[in-house]
């Protein structure tokens, strides 16, 4: 009974103390309350603005970072660049590029690469244009080619427009005027010519039969479809081949003594990335699976070549029975010394 009384007393005492404490508080005036509400509103507004601003400002950096990470992971960008560059080496006769000078730009989930292409005419390399390729993620758009050539290969290849033809293929009408054109080019100039052979032969055999004072630049390889000049679905194809000489250009895949092996490695790489290679090449079909299998089975045999040298020396090729036809490419002033 006494415990209960004590409890009641403690409670009353605590209550009195609390009430006294509350009475000691100075309640806000109306002006103070308005001030607090104003301050709260301002803080809330400022917080909202700052957080919204932060989220908005994060969009561009996040997308940029995501794009860079997309292209950097798995060496994706380098692989795309490699495939594009190597497609030029094996599909464009006597054309090369300097990978060291290749420029790239990464956009939002897209990449643009552009590079200059060169041709050896006589003893000098001439810049003959540039390629500009846009990639959306890893899918390339058709390249924008700006070639400054007097006699460029046709943008849309067909049987009539190709410069090198297989021994079993019909010669286009324009091929018959090649020797005559070569005769009319003045001496003291250097030229690039495309020759078609009468029979397929080993690259070494071709090198042996050529006169000394000229340079073999590019070899068109027999891939089993070159006689028909179309793939199995009837889409026109262009020659596949490789540079015949050691290429001292930094990072060139043909900076090797064994260009044949480098060529086969490139074909294998392109086969694994055929969609990209087909977009970059002129021909809208590369049929790399079948053509690579044919080359592996039959070895590397050539049916055409690009040769450069002094014009008067090139004319001597007409005496070779192995050469079926010739087409003149670019002609430049004398630089053979």
């Amino acid at each position: 009974m006494s415990d209960k009384h004590d409890e009641e007393k403690d409670y009353q005492q605590y209550l009195q103390e609390s009430l006294k404490e509350i009475n000691d508080f100075q309640p806000y005036t109306e002006a103070d309350q308005t001030g607090i509400i104003k301050l709260g509103k301002q803080t809330a507004r400022r917080t909202n603005i700052m957080i919204s601003l932060a989220i908005l400002l994060l969009v561009v950096p996040l997308m940029t970072l995501a794009s860079y990470m997309y292209y950097a992971t798995g060496d994706r960008a380098n692989q795309l660049i490699n495939v594009a560059a190597r497609t030029i080496y094996v599909t464009e006769p006597n054309m090369g590029l300097e990978e060291l000078r290749l420029e790239h730009k990464i956009g939002f989930f897209s990449m643009n690469i552009n590079f200059d292409v060169f041709k050896r005419i006589g003893k000098e390399d001439y810049k003959v244009g540039s390629y500009d390729i846009d990639f959306m993620l890893d899918q390339p758009d058709f390249p924008k080619r700006s070639l400054i050539l007097d006699r460029p290969l046709d943008e849309y290849p067909s049987k009539e427009t190709e410069f090198m033809v297989h021994p079993k293929a019909t010669l286009p009408l324009s091929a018959y005027t090649g020797w005559d054109m070569l005769k009319r080019i003045p001496d003291g100039s250097v030229a690039e010519i495309y020759v078609s052979l009468n029979q397929v032969m080993k690259p070494e055999e071709l090198k042996e039969i050529l006169p000394k004072n000229m340079e073999l630049r590019w070899l068109a390889v027999d891939t089993g479809m070159d006689a028909a000049q179309v793939d199995q679905e009837g889409v026109p194809i262009t020659p596949l081949g490789y540079p015949a000489q050691y290429d001292p250009t930094t990072w060139s895949p043909f900076k090797t003594d064994d260009n044949e092996r480098a060529f086969l490695e490139i074909l294998l790489q392109l086969k694994n990335n055929e969609a990209v290679a087909t977009k970059v090449a002129r021909a809208k079909s590369l049929a790399l699976g079948d053509r690579l299998a044919y080359i592996k089975k039959h070895g590397i045999n050539v049916y055409g070549a690009v040769i450069t040298g002094p014009t008067e020396e090139l004319r001597k090729l007409q005496n070779l029975k192995e050469i079926r036809a010739v087409k003149v490419g670019e002609v430049k002033l004398w630089n053979w010394e």
């Binding site: 508080f25 100075q26 309640p27 957080i51 400002l57 950096p61 970072l65 950097a72």
Partner: protein, 102 residues
Amino acid sequence: MELGIKLKGGGQRLPTISGFLSFLIALISLAGLNVALLMKVPVFPGIFIVQLPIVGFFLGLFGLIARRRSRLYAIWGLALCTFLLLFTLLMIIASLSINPKP
């Protein structure tokens, strides 16, 4: 009565000054980075992606250890400055690995 009680600890839950500064610095850095990215400048201005975020990072840390005040701004400032520094690092790594040149 409620407001009266709050009088005792008036302004306790306001954000810290250092946290606010950290958040503000992060926003300025982000804005600078956005301009640089959108204008496609060849070299990013270091002040927006290194110096300012480092300052903001430490201000954010300082704001985070303050007691009995709102840490909201400090957390945002710290997170954004960390992102900016991480962004710089990852971009350097990615840029060096894409089309590397000697």
